[in-house]
Subunit: 371 residues, 2 copies
């Protein structure tokens, strides 16, 4: 397909979703979980689409993970019934929403404080049930979470003593490994260490009478290596369904396994040093690469030498020499973004294509559900 005729039936910018590639990604991760003997609970923050969540469930996922209550509500409304909210829910408005959501779906939450635990405890008591919660463990991301070992035990004891909730497990997100590790060998080693810390912490809690049944870990680059660590019960990768330039740079994806590209049009070539495309930060987000190992904001398929150098909201600046010879106004380009997750959040739909033909428009129903 020549660049000039790329998807002429689509207006730009557009998110082009290659269904064959996506289905292969879904299948591959389901296989990883199956081989490791763990449950797969994909994080839907990446796609925000109940339709795609359902494809993941049909391929063997045991439930889904959401970051925000608003995402979970959209998924429940679409009939998805097993949802883990990997986020500390805080405040009366959120608790009222959690209670309503729990009437139509099996919901569990992560937490790392007594303040949040007391809120969920109150919901459980009002509903006359034991609300399932997982204690979040900080395995190096330094975001939320108690430290593995004694700090986790001290908090777990207090949480487990509350009425109206059931501390069913522990959970971590090792997303930091994408940034901290620079080779697949070190990524593998650190990913295994994360899993081992989790198992050790679960054992410590169990030996202190806390009945930890679930050990949930997850991040797309890591689960290839740590899902099989004995004791792990669940993985929660998100990005794998699409992949992105970050995953390409880390070595766990290739151009051919990146399922979503941003289709853009060259709209101006005002000089030989640059060309302007119709996608900027309101299409690509301003996320840089995890390692900053490559300048710019994406990989331009077929033009690895051209850099998407910087952006304004609706303009992307391609940096190149001989711009007027290499590109033309009206030409279309497909760009694999640095980080895919924020990008569907900026769009209303995916254009699902198979071998270049539009097969299905997939609405991004949980777009912008950040509460």
């Amino acid at each position: 397909m020549s660049a000039e005729s790329l998807y002429p039936f689509l207006d730009t910018p557009a998110l082009v979703l290659d269904l064959d590639k996506m289905e292969a990604n879904i299948k591959e991760m389901a296989g990883i979980a199956r081989e490791a003997g763990v449950k797969l609970r994909p994080h839907i923050k990446t796609h925000k689409s109940p339709y795609l969540a359902r494809l993941q469930l049909e391929a063997g996922a045991s439930g889904i993970t959401a970051a925000k209550l608003g995402e979970a509500e959209v998924m429940a409304e679409a009939g998805i019934t097993d949802i883990r909210i990997a986020y500390p829910l805080c405040g009366e408005i959120k608790l009222a929403r959690l209670r309503r959501l729990s009437e139509s779906a099996t919901v569990s939450c992560s937490l790392d404080s007594m303040e949040v635990a007391r809120g969920i405890s109150s919901v459980g008591q009002e509903m006359n049930r034991h609300f399932p919660v997982l204690l979040e463990i900080n395995t190096g991301m330094n975001r939320c979470g108690a430290l593995p070992g004694e700090e986790a035990l001290a908090l777990a004891r207090k949480i487990a003593a509350l009425p109206g909730l059931d501390l069913v497990g522990i959970l971590t997100h090792e997303g930091h490994l994408l940034s901290t590790e620079r080779s697949l060998a070190s990524l593998r080693q650190r990913a295994i260490e994360v899993a081992e810390k989790m198992v050790m912490t679960a054992d410590l809690l169990r030996s202190n009478g806390i009945d930890i049944r679930e050990i949930s870990i997850g991040s797309t680059p890591a689960v290839r290596y740590n899902a099989g660590v004995p004791g792990i019960t669940e993985i929660r990768p998100g990005t794998y369904i699409f992949n992105d330039l970050n995953e390409m740079m880390s070595g766990v994806a290739t151009e051919d396994t990146c399922a979503v590209t941003v289709l853009v049009t060259v709209v101006s070539i005002p000089g030989d040093d640059r060309a302007i495309i119709d996608g900027g930060s309101k299409t690509f987000s301003s996320d840089t690469l995890a390692h900053h190992e490559k300048p710019g904001f994406g990989h331009i398929k077929g033009h690895p030498d051209i850099v998407l150098d910087h952006m304004n909201e609706e303009h992307g600046y391609l940096k190149l020499s001989d711009a007027r010879r290499k590109l033309e106004i009206g030409q279309r380009l497909e760009i694999i973004p640095n980080h895919i997750c924020p990008i569907p959040n900026l769009a209303d739909k995916f254009y699902g294509v198979r071998r270049g033909v539009l097969e299905k428009e997939i609405p991004i129903l949980a777009r912008g559900k950040n509460t």
Copy 2:
């Protein structure tokens, strides 16, 4: 109002719009245009709301500016009839949409190439009219646009010779001054130089028989200084309706003239070195400050010492010492973001408040309209 009780009727994250401050901002800019004797055509990319566009029109704006055709369509659907699309429209799908849009509104476009001019010429010919266009001039932003002087003249001659369009004016956006200038004195000087270059270029075109009637410039920090340059006919500022930390740092806004804050909740304080809020890059965008003169992603009202240091999609990391003493889980904070324009694009509505009371929810109808 104590931080704990900030807008308890709102769920978080939320965009809180102080209506008094916004109305003052609208009035101030209308005054600047009136005193300078120029038309005001606000850029609606900042708010993406037909309701707010109408307030700007009622305060004296002569029309609006949109970046994308999709934004213009939303505004036209809401009954706004004079729309300038400050963007080169490219491709058959866009031209068909432009034709439809022109049936319900007076639309003009900017352009900087013969490729785009020929497309609009064809629309004009099909509609049996002369479609109004403005030649974009590059006054230093190095984005789109012909260079002032001879390059502009050469292109203008060719465009003006096309049937079906009317080259009514020239247009520039001097948004680069926010980044390049580090004092109000130098900003003022450069802003005036931009306007003078535009007037000079218009005169050159006129002296070559091209009837340039409009000279349109604009960017929130610059128009305070260059709107009054003789010959300028129109200004197109956008950010002024809300202001942001960039405008505060440049000296043209203060905390008190920033009309939109992001209301967030502290959801985790896992250690004394940090607190986690429920707004991340899917709420704030990842835009850094224009000058990088301050670390982080926003100014936390009442806590100038706390830095919103980095973000993941749904988590913001506050960097501070003694976190457990200074903040508590459940506490609400109001944050003035680095750059306001991408932020309404991530939300569905503004919560319009007056003296702390919710007065009106304002839907962001042109959110995500990036085609």
